[in-house]
């Protein structure tokens, strides 16, 4: 009893401190606290009864209440770690009956504040539901608990000669359940498609405690509405995903990585188009990053620029079953590109370590930026030829600004750009210059204001830039059907 009250006092003190010198860094809450119950000792006792004392945490919670970028922080006093589906059911039913708000959490690597509480929602972490249940070699389908870390799942599959169909920078910390809940895109969407296609089944616990046991391993099943699609990308607002059935591709026998240095984005657009036409079935990734990104990564991590200074860099990866076949295809492609494009410089990695070195340049950009200053991160889908124009537009908007750096990089093969602005410190003034400018810019091109990062807290009132009124209305209706009391991840998404 006493410890809990003390904790609340300490948290309030932290809040005051935040208001003083961290206020600009922490994003302020957009929506007022809903009419949810505040948890008390009776609730804690109940949780302890269900989970045992080891799987409930009531102090030192910052790892769970604060997001990866340090921009969103909630006031939860309790994190629960269920280990079975049954426990998740009991917890949700209880919270639903008592109107206790819940924030489901995976690896807490999200970039839009969707994985951390806004106020005092209790956190239900899937961290300890981390068993891989089954792998069927004949079909390449794995059934896994939601809390398995993506990299661990990949390690497990590699023993069988398979790999996970998604790959992203957060793979060492993110969990497969969270990936599904956010419909994570990543570096290989170009080749393996989105989770909407590779997830074959889900086990979801609904807010009222009932469970949908949808863990099938069927490739085809046209029997009624495909409900799992609603949960994929629902960001924890409709239920808690506890199990995933995932179709996995085989580990490639041959991987090749090429890096091109180009003089303009137009050349990059041409290269990605030709890559799709000429490399076809072996093309597995097509990424780009600009000069400022390359310079920052090399300076920040003290690595040498591998090719000559260029405006735009394009990374192309191929994966296939036959090294000779892929080599000759790639070599023909290179020859053609040297004839058709204005290539400043280029290199092809031959060994695994060289491939890692080239990938490092692209995969570390986000870290380099976050570690160098106050970052504003945006993630847009735009028509490919126009993709980089938003970077130029933002640079122009900020031309009177003292110090911001603007970076553009992303999945050029998918029409998805990550626009980052880095300044010495966060400021409302800078934020107001950026928003709604970038959202309106994207909306004018009929693009998406969130290609893969999701809505979370950050874009909760901005969906209208990319979706129509009727679509939003239907989404709200669906939310009502699943979560009448609105306890699932409130203040976010819809």
């Amino acid at each position: 009893i006493k410890p809990k009250r003390m904790l609340l006092r300490i948290i309030k003190r932290n809040q005051t401190n935040s208001n003083n010198y961290l206020s600009a860094r922490l994003v302020s809450r957009k929506r007022p606290r809903g009419n949810f119950a505040e948890i008390n000792t009776t609730d804690i006792s109940y949780f302890t009864q269900i989970l045992g004392t080891k799987n409930i945490k009531t102090n030192t919670l910052q790892k769970y209440t604060k997001d990866w970028m340090g921009r969103y922080q909630g006031d939860s006093t309790c994190v629960l770690f269920p280990t079975t589906v049954d426990q998740v059911q009991q917890l949700l039913k209880y919270c639903n009956d008592k109107r206790i708000a819940v924030c489901p959490q995976g690896g807490n690597t999200g970039l839009v504040g969707g994985s951390v509480p806004v106020y005092d929602e209790i956190i239900i972490s899937m961290e300890k539901m981390n068993s891989i249940r089954k792998f069927d070699e004949a079909s390449g389908v794995v059934i896994s608990d939601a809390g398995v870390v993506l990299q661990d799942l990949d390690q497990y599959l590699s023993d069988y000669g398979y790999t996970v169909p998604i790959d992203l920078g957060a793979k060492g910390s993110c969990q497969i359940g969270g990936n599904v809940a956010t419909n994570a895109g990543g570096l290989r969407l170009l080749r393996y498609g989105s989770l909407h296609g590779t997830v074959l089944g889900l086990e979801v616990v609904l807010p009222d405690g009932r469970v949908i046991n949808g863990l099938k391993t069927l490739r085809k099943d046209n029997t009624g509405y495909d409900l799992k699609q609603l949960f994929i990308g629902s960001e924890g607002s409709l239920g808690i995903i506890t199990g995933v059935s995932l179709l996995c591709p085989p580990v490639p026998k041959s991987i090749k990585v090429a890096l091109f240095g180009l003089s303009s984005f137009k050349d990059a657009v041409l290269i990605q188009q030709k890559a799709k036409l000429q490399l076809q079935e072996i093309l597995s990734a097509c990424e780009f990053f600009d000069n400022s990104s390359m310079k920052l990564v090399c300076e920040h991590f003290n690595v040498k620029e591998p090719i000559e200074d260029s405006s735009i860099y394009v990374l192309i990866e191929t994966r296939g079953s036959n090294d000779d076949h892929d080599t000759s295809k790639l070599n023909s492609f290179l020859e053609n590109m040297y004839e058709e494009c204005d290539i400043i410089d280029g290199t092809v990695a031959e060994s695994g370590s060289q491939m890692k070195a080239i990938w490092f340049l692209r995969e570390s950009i986000a870290s380099a930026i976050s570690e160098s200053g106050a970052t504003y991160k945006y993630d847009f889908s735009l028509p490919t030829p126009e993709m980089y124009s938003i970077v130029d537009a933002v640079r122009k908007e900020l031309s009177n600004y003292p110090d911001p750096n603007v970076y553009g990089y992303g999945h050029i093969g998918d029409g998805n750009i990550h626009l980052n602005i880095m300044a010495k410190e966060y400021s409302e003034d800078l934020q107001n210059k950026l928003e709604p400018f970038v959202y309106e810019y994207t909306s004018n091109f009929n693009g998406s204001i969130s290609a893969e990062h999701g809505i979370g807290q950050m874009k909760a009132d901005h969906i209208h830039y990319s979706k129509s009124e009727i679509e939003l209305e239907i989404m709200k209706n669906i939310k009502q059907i699943f979560d009448r009391n609105g306890i699932m991840n409130p203040y976010k998404v819809i």
């Binding site: 040297y338 280029g346 290199t347 092809v348 060994s351 695994g352 060289q354 491939m355 070195a357």
Partner: protein, 203 residues
């Protein structure tokens, strides 16, 4: 003073992309359909030779590989990196042990007459760490293995070696054999135009 440098490279399993697996008959490792490329430390040897050329110490870098037909790929990679010429001793399907490779290299040395022979300290599939040493023995040349640093002054080669007991610095007279260790250097990335050129070069 400009030396001719011979670099011996093996077309071996690319460890960074595959897990080495032992064959069911326990007589070797699985090479079927496994990604092969220039052995990691041999690539460092090629890099070191090229750096010697850039410093003006070496006048010519010749790559040699004793191995099956596919070893050609490793040689083309060495050429793309910047080697002047390449020699392929085609062994067909026969798997050779270090002693046999060393004997073959000895013949090449007699023909090419280099002042310095560089190679990796061990190949990533065999892990023998014998070929360089045996070659030196057969030629009766001084050797420095597990090199972490290589410098050439006048007609002597100064090498800092990594040993279990610490670092050891040796000074040898030309001609000599040096095997590359992990910290010798970092191999350069090959530029695309060079790859395309190397692809076309005939023997």
């Amino acid at each position: 003073m400009a030396y001719r440098v011979l670099v011996a490279c093996k077309h071996a399993i690319d460890l960074s992309t595959v897990k080495i697996r032992i064959k069911p008959d326990k007589l070797g490792v699985v090479t079927q359909g496994v990604k092969m490329g220039i052995a990691y430390f041999d690539e460092l040897a090629v890099e070191e030779a090229l750096r010697l050329k850039e410093k003006g110490v070496a006048s010519e870098v010749i790559a040699v590989s004793v191995g099956p037909a596919d070893a050609q790929k490793t040689l083309r990679h060495a050429l793309a990196m910047g080697a002047d010429s390449a020699v392929h001793v085609n062994t067909g399907d026969v798997e050779l042990a270090p002693l046999q490779v060393a004997k073959a290299l000895r013949e090449i040395v007699r023909e090419v007459e280099p002042q310095l022979v560089l190679t990796g300290k061990q190949a990533t599939d065999g892990d023998y760490s014998q070929t360089g040493q045996m070659l030196a023995g057969m030629l009766d040349w001084p050797q420095a293995t597990q090199a972490a640093e290589l410098n050439v002054e006048n007609d002597s080669v100064k090498v800092v070696r990594e040993t279990d007991a610490g670092l050891e610095t040796i000074s040898m007279n030309i001609p000599a054999v040096v095997t590359a260790g992990l910290r010798l250097n970092e191999a350069r990335l090959v530029k695309m135009p060079n790859i395309m050129k190397a692809k076309k070069e005939e023997n």
